[in-house]
Each structure stands twice: as C-alpha cells, then as structure tokens.
Symmetry: C2
Subunit: 507 residues, 2 copies
C-alpha cells in the first residue's frame, strides 16, 4: 500500500490527511487525519497581512505535520494553501519559514486550480454529469459547471462564510437589514458570472454545507448516516436560516448538526448558499463529503488516465468497499450474476415493475452481502449491513445506501423491514425490498457451495407458477447442495411475486 | 488459510461448521455453517432403533454436507456422531450407508470422548481452572471436573433434555408432580457420581443452556450481546422455570430468548440444570458458546501442544481478534506498553485504586483500539467498539467485554459514558472508565506518530501535579508530534486523578 499525505492549509483549520492506495488499481482509503485550528487568517483585516501570532502557529503546525510524515515514513507529501494565504501580502514570509523549517514546498493554489480540484472531488464522489458545483469555504466560494463530466466553467468568488459574516453580520443579533444586504451582495456577485445555474443538478461541498445538511437531517426521521449524498432542499435551508437568524450568533453553534466552532459563521454561509440556489434556480443541493483534499489525492491516484476521473463512481465505490474486506470474489460475482439474470427475466415476465435503479441496488448488495464475515460468520448479514451504512458508498443517495444495506441484511433470513428508511421511504418499499431480498436470497442459495456449480438460471412463468430452471456448470458439476439449499429459500421470492416458485434441477 | 469441516450429527440437529485457521499459529475463525433439523432420533423409542424416515433424512443430509465440502475444496472433514447414533441398535446401517454414499467415515464418539471434547471447548473458551463443566444435550448430559485446567473426571448421563422431557413431561401441562419426579431422578443420577460439585466454578455449554441464558438476559437491562461468558444465577434460573412451567409446552418457545423449536424440551432441560446446580452447590453458571464442534477443531488447531489448550484464553482471544483486522502491530503494542506503565506507576502513587482486572481490560483495549480503521478512519473509535462487542472475546465476561469496548470507544475523544453497562454496572464505573480512557488516550497521543519515538514514560507526583516524564528512543528521535499531541489530550486523565497532568519533553 502506498500513501500520500495532503496538507490543506485553509483560512481557519489546517488538516493533514493520509490516503492509502494500491498503485495500478483504484483501491483507496483514508488512513489518518490530524486537524489543527490554526486560524492563520485571524486579524488579517483589509490590508491582508498575516499577523505574527497566527504566523507562529502556522509554522509550528507545519513543523508538527512534517514530523508526522517523516515519522510515519510518508514520502509523498502535498502541502497546499488556499485563499487566505494566496491573498496575503506577506505570504512569502510564511512559505519561506515553512521551507526553512521543514523542507516542505507549499503549493499555493490559484483560484482556477482550487476550483478545478473541487470539480475533481465532485466528479469522483457523485454521479453529476451536467450541472453545477459549489465549494463554500471560509474565505472564498468556488463555483464550477460540468458538461458531460468535464469542467466547463470555474471561478472563485469572495463570498466565503467567514468573510461575509465579518462584513455583514458582525453583531450577536442578525438584523433583517443586514441579512438582506448580505443576500443582495451575494446575488450580485453570482449574477455577474453569467453562467450560473438554470439547468442541471447542483452539488455542494465544504464544511459549511456539510454542517447545514447535518442540521437539516436532524430535523428529519433518518437513519444515523453521514451526509454523503444528502439532498438539502431550498425549503429546508430556508427553515434553517429562519432558526439560525432567530438566535444570537453565540448560540447558533448549539443547533443540532452545527459544530460549535462554526456557530459564528454558519448563518452567513447559509445565506450565501441560499442566494446561490436562488440565482441558479436550484430547488435542492446534493451534498458530497469529498473536497479539495480528495481532489488532490484523486489527481494522483488516477494520473494514468487522460482525466483524473473514475469510469463510474458507483461501481468504483462498491468495488472499493468489497475489496477492503476481501472475500470470495468469484462467489459474490456469481451471486450478482444469478440475481440480475432472475431480476431481468422476472421483469420481462411482468413479475415486478422495477427497473434500472433497483437493478443497480441489487448488484451493489450482491457484491457486498458477505463483507460482514470479516467481523464474524454468525450474524454476518447484520455486520454487512453495519459496514455498508458506516463505510458509505459515494455516488449513492442515503436512501439508496440504506436499501443496499437492507438487501444485504436480509440476504439469508428474516422478514425485510423497510421501517429503517424513515423519511426516506416510499410507499412501495415493502414490496421492493421483498422482491430484491427474495432474489438475492435465492441466488445466494443457488451458489451455496460457492463453486458456481449452477452456471445459469432461467425464469419462466408456467401457468400460475414461476419456474427457476437451472443449468449445471458442465456434466460433472454436483448441484445437490445448491438445489437443496435453494428449495428451502424460495419463500420470500414467492411471496414477493405472489406465486409459487419452483426450483428445478438441471437436466 | 487452512480449513476443516466438522460435521456434528446430534440427536436433533446436524450441523456442518467450517473453521479457518493458519497453520503454525493460533489464528482461527468460523467461516461457514449449515444446520439441518435431521431429528435422527425421532421415534427411536425404548428399543433404540433408528426409523426408516429419519435414516433417509440423515443419509441425504450427509450427502449434501459431503457435496458441500467437496465443492468448497475442504479436504479435512471430521464427521462425528453422539448419543442418539451411539446408542442405536442399527447404527451400522446408517454408518455404512453414509460411507457408501459419501466416503465419509463417521467417528462415533464414546461417552468419555464426548465429555473430553466438551472439556477442551470449555478450557479454551473460559478461564476455568479448577471447577466443573456441564454439556446439556438432547440425548445425554456430559459432566466434567477440571483440576489445574486438566480433565480430572468425566462422565455422560442419560439426562438429555429431549430424553427427560419425553419421559417426564409428555403433556402440554407440566404438573408439579411430574416436575418433582424429573428433578428427583436427575438428582439421584447426579448424586451417584460422587464427585459433582461442592467447590469451584461451573461452566455450561450446549444449546439448551445458551437459550436459558438468553432468556435470563432478556429480563435484564443489558447491552445486545451474545451469551458468551454470561452468568446465569440459580435464582434467575428458578424464575425462568416458574415462567416456563406456568405455560403449556406449545407456548414455551414463545418466551423471549428461547428458540421456538426448543420450546417443547426447554423446561425439562432447565429442571435438569437446576438439579445439577443444587446437587453441586452452585449459585451460578458461566455460559460458553463453544462446544463439541469447537472441541474437535481445537484438538486439531493445537495438536502441536502436549495438551490441546491455549496458554491463556483471554490473551489468545484478544490477539486473535486483533489479528483478524491486521493493523499496525508495533503501534498497538507500544500503546499498550505506555498505558500499562502509566497504570502501574499511577497505582503505586495512589492515584487510583485499581488492580489486575482493570489492567487486563486496559491491555485488551489497547490491543484492539484501532481495529475499527478497517471499516473507516472516520469514527474508527465507534467502529472498534462495534467490532469488539460483536466479534466477542471468549474468556471475558459480558461486563468485561463492554468495558473493553468502551475504553476503545473513548480512546480518542468524548466523555466516557458507563450507562451502556446497564445491569452490568458497578457504582464506581464512571471513575474506572475515566481513568482507563484517560490513560489510553494519553498513550495513544504519546504514540501519535506511530514510530515509538517516545520509548518510555515515568509517572511522578510532584506536589499536587502529576508529571509524565518521557524518554526518547535514542538521540535522533523526533518527539515533537508526540509531545504536541499528548499535551492536548491529558485532560481526561487529569480529571480522573483530580490533579493537573503535565507532559514533559524528553531531556
């Protein structure tokens, strides 16, 4: 496993993150993280000068981070600086001191470069194809437009949450007038872009947006998940703004979901975001937890490609997670193959009304159904469910993630229960889950001996009965375990398609 | 990884379990399991003859299990038969048919052999040293006595739950008279042993006992754990017997914790167990989830030892689990070393009143604190906690397991919360956890750079202040990350010892 450390020298906090990856593959994971509230921009004021105390803190933090990399034997270190340092009159003083003390050569990101890294993070952690991205930072806001997954427009606007809060909302109480002025300013800056919005989806990244999504999530009945893929509607954002504005600045950090140390700037950030959604005509924003740091890492991980983009984000997420708990790859691929074949043929026979979305969820669940055996064989269906929900799958919405988790949860036994979906549920989820769990359960048993003895299946409707015709993998294959196991696991599928299901031995 | 399949041909259910292990080490895990309710003993009656239908089911099941082993490429297969088959007049008919059909050579365990395998399971999954063991099966009950972890006595008694239930409790209603007769019979058989009980602990194994423990657990406020290490008191057993006896046989399987298909024999088993506890003078029974199948597996895993026993069950459990999520071994060993050194020196300085028990828990938590990173670096302390509780640690009580999980949970941040212990809590657990979490948290940060730069620590009391003196690993070691990190993580320890804690740089 190779490792790379990215040091993100932001306006407020500095963060060292370590990514592990396997060269020549796309397997990766975050393996370490240190955060320090350096507040390098503190007291910069209009003259844009880094002050002595923040400079000291910054140099000391750089030294500690460098020592950490040295001690851990991480040779690839990428220190990058963003708007606060980029704009500081005396930035060379800091960069020289860091170079002298640690040998680190800090890369000061230009505005377009910073926006481009945010784009890479978005394109590799969501399914955004044509649409827009916004990275709401403390100093600046980066905005991008994607066309066919390529970067079509990029800019950096001086609308960061710290910046607008200091200027427009300096008091404990946010007056209606001050909020209006902030909004008018943000609207004007955004409108000047000339290309912002009007069609396509919007993805948001950065700590402010993560916090707003978490706060909106707390007001709903949701499973306990992180905010990757969360849909923040403009209505929900409006409600949050109302709540935040009704409190004094010092109490805003107490709103569930908002980190205490963001309380003083969260309202400013929320107002900028609301203006951005209004100007662009967006009803909702999709949240990604990836950001600048992942952008830098993905550039390196994917540098053998023409563009640093995964071919398909959802497929990569599933394969990356499956890989982390290496199991019997041939087995899970075969369970997926049998499940999807039955899904397709059952659909053609009008046994269910589901399509591409459910097919993808079923595939993902098949690939991941056994990862829980890494914890314990007993109850491994429960453990797979825990791992899926907690490790997460970028590219999937929270609803999809929970469904994948539930299909894995019920791949062996139990009556599928959709209640965990809470506010993410749709009316027909019980039926949807019964079918998908019924299919994976039957496929798992048809592959019970893990040797692909049942090579393929056909689903046919014969009168009122659903027949599962099986074919053996060659004449010598012993299919007795598969048939024996499958016959006692067809009940759930039978219930889902409201017909008896008969599993037939190969000819 | 090598694999061995054990096929346990019991009176009621047959089970195929597959164990994976690494030759030359003691790493192992259960990797697969198939259960089939063969009910081979059905209708045997007094003439002890296996009937045609059960024989057919048995032969067919043996064939499926053999096919499974063949398909999975498992060459080491150990099929064993216990009392029902051992006692059957026509057992050769079954064994010959199985041999012809599958090539499997079934080992019919003698009474002492069966008891000995239970002993091996007990000695390798608990800390029982001098004491007694009971394996309550469907046909027979195996009893053993241990002396210095060696097998001192062993016997098999015709008191299995199915057997006594059929004879004494054949009706829906269990009359007081019938219960009394069952009890008197069991008492008589047990008293005849001449060596049963009077001093030492008692460990119980087998499905009946697991179910009784689960049912007793459901009546308490406990975390959701399996029953490994659970203490079933005779009082709790008495309450359960009262509840079970008050219901008709067909309703007893509905008592929470009791599996439905055991409902008809659970009361009989409970009465035998109660008699065994009374005759032996035992106030409580410790439950182990290991049994005959593990006994057979351990015999093989540990066959390079004079006796098939782990040197130390708790140590092996911890190391086996740590190994499953291979992390940075030098790092966790060093965190353990620093934590224990501080624990010992703080104890000598009267900064805490804790001793050997807490020291062992601290060690276990240190060894396991990072296993959650296998799931996700973010929140890995939560994931370590989940893994510890769900993978389990044979040799530890549920209370100890929860404490180890909580120490790992709070090794990075948060205020330790003992409320999860429920009825397992003791009055001073908040203080206990604060100290143990305070120590691991400081040790983790002293080893933040994972390079053992801080080689050792000394704890001294200077006036009202606790000084942590550190020594660097040689003159070239960069201890800046360690000191920087440790200084911001000493609060919890300071709170636990009610004194300021100062972390000093090496000279």
């Amino acid at each position: 496993m190779d490792r790379i450390a990215v040091i993100d020298m932001g306006s407020n906090s500095w963060r060292l993150v370590v990514f592990g990856y396997e060269l020549g593959t796309s397997w990766w994971s975050l393996t370490d993280e240190i955060r320090e509230a350096v507040r390098v921009a503190a007291g910069m004021g209009e003259e844009r000068t880094l002050k002595p105390e923040p400079l000291d803190r910054a140099i000391h933090t750089a030294a500690v981070f460098a020592s950490f990399c040295e001690a851990s034997g991480i040779e690839a270190v990428e220190p990058v600086a963003t708007s606060a340092i980029r704009e500081a009159e005396n930035r060379d003083e800091l960069l020289d001191a860091i170079r002298d003390r640690t040998g680190l050569e800090v890369r000061v990101l230009g505005k377009e470069e910073e926006a481009r890294l945010g784009y890479i993070a978005i394109a590799n952690s969501t399914t955004l194809d044509d649409g827009f991205g916004i990275d709401l930072g403390g100093g600046s806001v980066e905005v991008v437009r994607l066309e066919g997954r390529e970067l079509a427009e990029a800019d950096s606007l001086p609308l960061g949450s710290v910046r607008v809060s200091e200027k427009y909302l300096p008091d404990e109480k946010a007056s209606g007038k001050a909020q209006k002025a902030l909004r008018a300013h943000a609207t004007e800056v955004l409108e000047e872009l000339g290309w912002w919005g009007d069609e396509g989806r919007l993805v948001g990244i950065g700590g402010t947006i993560r916090n707003l999504a978490a706060a909106a999530g707390k007001r709903m009945d949701l499973p306990d998940l992180d905010v990757q893929g969360f849909r923040l509607t403009r209505d929900a954002l409006g409600d949050l703004i109302e709540e935040l504005a009704s409190k004094p600045a010092s109490k805003r950090g107490g709103v569930p979901g908002i980190k205490p140390d963001r309380g003083d700037v969260i309202l400013g950030g929320a107002l900028v975001l609301d203006a951005a959604m209004e100007v662009g005509g967006f009803d909702e924003l999709e949240v990604s937890e990836a950001g600048l740091r992942e952008g830098i890492f993905f550039e390196r991980l994917l540098d053998d490609k023409p563009e640093p983009l995964f071919d398909d984000v959802r497929t990569e997420s599933v394969r990356n997670l499956a890989h982390r708990f290496r199991g019997d790859e041939e087995h899970v691929e075969h369970v997926a193959k049998l499940s999807l074949a039955m899904f397709d043929m059952a659909g053609e026979a009008d046994l269910h009304p589901y399509g591409r979305e459910e097919r993808e969820l079923l595939w993902a669940a098949c690939m991941l159904h056994d990862i829980g055996t890494a914890i314990d064989y007993d109850d491994h269906h429960h453990h797979s469910h825990y791992l899926i929900l907690n490790a997460g799958l970028p590219g999937f919405t929270p609803r999809e993630l929970v469904l994948v988790g539930l299909i894995a949860r019920y791949h062996r036994k139990g009556d599928p229960d959709a209640s965990e979906l809470g506010d993410l549920a749709r009316g027909d989820d019980e039926e949807r889950l019964a079918l998908l769990c019924g299919l994976i359960r039957l496929a798992e048993q048809l592959e019970r001996s893990r040797d692909q003895a049942i090579a393929s299946v056909e689903v046919t409707l014969e009168g009122d009965e659903v027949a599962i015709e099986t074919s053996a993998n060659g004449t010598g294959a012993d299919t007795s375990v598969a048939i024996w196991s499958a016959r006692r696991s067809a009940d759930l599928l039978a219930e889902a398609v409201r017909r008896p299901v008969e599993v037939r031995e190969p000819d």
